[in-house]
Symmetry: C2
Subunit: 411 residues, 2 copies
């Protein structure tokens, strides 16, 4: 695909976005429900195409699992679309209204962003999930998936084309970039006349490429170096259960805990109980931690900086709430930060003073997720502050347009 | 100023932002009111310093007027700060609340963005206005003004330092980059560990530099190629008064009208009346326009594309609402787009279908301004869709933090 072909496709996506932004709630819902049905009906065909992509895949690591579809995963994709379809329409809500002294009536109206570009890696379910969130919110989805999933993605997108056309909407409302070269990747990130918002879903090299090449506004789905602070007054059993859940329920995701900070007053009770409750997890602690857990690995500076995304947890004993907040300010990535405490003042200080997309009190960091927070799905989790912070659902794919109504006012 | 010195200053600004984000409503207000008083008290000194900057200024064009302060302008700066000070506190509002089926209590809390970077040109009032909006909303202001205004800006910033320290807040909460070389400009736009949001206020070359160099999230204060569509049913006298106001009340600003689109049914009445009402404006029209206004200059394609920012208005006769909307979609910059009509259905079609930061019905485009819309001031007018669209006031300098409160929930 040449740059010229990319730009020509982009113009079609742009036009389709205008039609989607005018489409009725009913038509947008119907598209999602149709694709959900068709995914299930054509599951065998989809799995066969995906099997070819999997056979051709020759990179080591967890990539092959992310690439592979199963019947259960196809059904989960369909169910996710039904959930998004049944979520209330995010469009055309009047967010606030006022009348100015000169009689002008002012309101802000919720409208689609337009064209959402998403750059992502292996997982084919992203193709369907993102298309669903975009179409439901009246946006066009312009997708640049991985070359390794190309045939799978192409088939999924063909179901979207069918469903859009069935509702009289342009097929280009869900479009897939037709190659995955580095050249088109950079060109894609520079389609300033096409993309209203670009969302990267991937690792550090994708984020670096975005910062280098992107010329369109973007929202970063960044790393989650998430902390749990176990305060002196924490309920011991709750604290052990929460840290265990935050670390082990799904270690490879961005809302998993990577470091536990333990108040010195509770360390002698908490640390041995935690270690006993999750023997499968390697603990890496500072000197104070290792007084209570002599078998823990010594923690390096780097251990406090990184996302392990694995069954490894960094541990640090702190003297105070202030020290815990300072540690999070230094090492945190602004994703999800939890305090476990029975002291209401400390809980509120944490909520107010910790600078992160989500602050959590007495619960697992794993709840910071679009589905769990009631958004009906998510296109990513923003760790920046502009536009959207935390999970991005349907509402985060909209913007507010000013409407000014007068009767001849001049200034 | 070396890049290292810039980074060191940046770290101080970052720390100051933390303190400002925790400062009370009362302290933040007091800082603004103190600066307002001190601006007036030290007006003579400020005007003398500014006079030196003006003497040293040797570029042609309107720059010298923008650079020059007068007593009236200093008083206006002080009054603007008092207005922002008296605007309600934008912080710590709970925007929405819900309880999940598992008992988690979810809310979103309005908090400051952190450090706002602003790159701007001559006008020294921007120094004070931006600092006022940032401090009022609990943010630090990191300012890169023009070298031509350096001494003036430095003096204004010194008043902010005095006021911040008087309230026990760090002086670095309002900081000025100490040189204006291109090298530090590019480095400033790449301070990813310091800046939460970067706002350029300037012309096309600054926007191009932002797209090229910026590595931090930014909101573009873009061009305004604004249209007024005079529909067939428009009230003739109102329409003439509004177009005249939109074009001539301040031709050099971004919310001034640049093109008037006239429905063919009303053209024979409207165009001669408009021409008679604003003889000082050069009209540039298409062939149909020139049937009614034989003395109008023929309009080129470029005339429909550009911001004149002058007493020149492009004119085009259109056959329908659809043609007007299509013209705006093609040539508009997404700023402010007005329809003048007595047909309610056409007004609502315009509101829904025109894609712009502000759509205006039966009023002048000149009302699209933070002060006029009740924001108490503005740091710029965004023509992009992410984060803020249209005038950016105090609320647009905040973001929403998720707060999740539980009693031991795990996932």
């Amino acid at each position: 695909m040449s740059i010229g072909a990319l730009e020509a496709q982009g113009r079609e996506v742009r036009e389709a976005a205008t039609a989607l932004g005018q489409a009725s709630d009913e038509a947008r819902r119907a598209v999602l429900l149709h694709v959900a049905d068709r995914l299930e009906e054509s599951s065998d065909e989809l799995l066969a195409i995906n099997a070819d992509d999997v056979v051709a895949y020759d990179e080591p690591g967890a990539g092959v699992d992310r690439l592979t579809l199963t019947s259960a995963r196809v059904n989960a994709m369909a169910d996710a679309l039904r959930e998004i379809a049944n979520h209330p329409d995010p469009l055309f809500e009047v967010v606030d209204q006022s009348v100015r002294p000169n009689g002008l009536r002012i309101e802000r109206l919720r409208v689609p962003l337009g064209v959402i570009g998403v750059v992502y890696e292996n997982r084919p379910n992203v193709t369907s999930d993102v298309a669903g969130l975009c179409v439901r919110s009246g946006n066009a989805a312009y997708l640049r998936g991985s070359s390794t999933a190309f045939a799978t993605n192409q088939f999924i997108v063909s179901l979207w084309h069918e469903a859009l056309e069935k509702e009289g909407l342009p097929a280009a409302g869900v479009s897939l970039v037709q190659d995955s070269s580095h050249e088109t990747a950079a060109a894609f990130m520079q389609l300033t006349d096409v993309l209203d918002c670009l969302i990267p879903r991937g690792g550090p090299s994708l984020i670096a490429a975005m910062r280098e090449h992107a010329r369109v506004p973007y929202v970063l789905d960044g790393d989650g170096n998430c902390h749990v602070f176990v305060d002196a007054s924490a309920d011991l059993d709750n604290a052990v259960a929460i840290v265990r859940n935050a670390k082990t329920s799904r270690p490879g995701v961005c809302n998993a805990a990577e470091t536990v900070l333990v108040h010195r007053m509770i360390a002698a009770d908490f640390l041995p109980a935690l270690s006993a409750a999750m023997p499968e997890v390697e603990l890496r602690g500072d000197d104070a931690t290792r007084q209570y857990l002599p078998n823990a690995t010594p923690a390096s500076e780097e251990d406090y900086q990184r996302e392990f995304l694995d069954l490894i947890l960094a541990v640090k004993v702190v003297d105070s709430l202030d020290e815990a907040i300072a540690h999070v300010a230094r090492y945190g990535t602004g994703h999800s930060e939890a305090i476990l405490t029975t002291d209401q003042a400390n809980a509120e200080a944490w909520v107010k003073r910790v600078d992160a997309a989500a602050v959590v009190v007495n619960a697992s960091t794993r709840f910071v997720d679009g589905g769990e927070l009631g958004l009906g799905g998510e296109v990513g989790i923003s760790t920046q502050k502009l536009h959207a912070r935390g999970p991005m659902g349907l509402r985060e794919l909209t913007c507010l347009k000013w409407v000014v109504r007068g009767e001849g006012q001049i200034r």
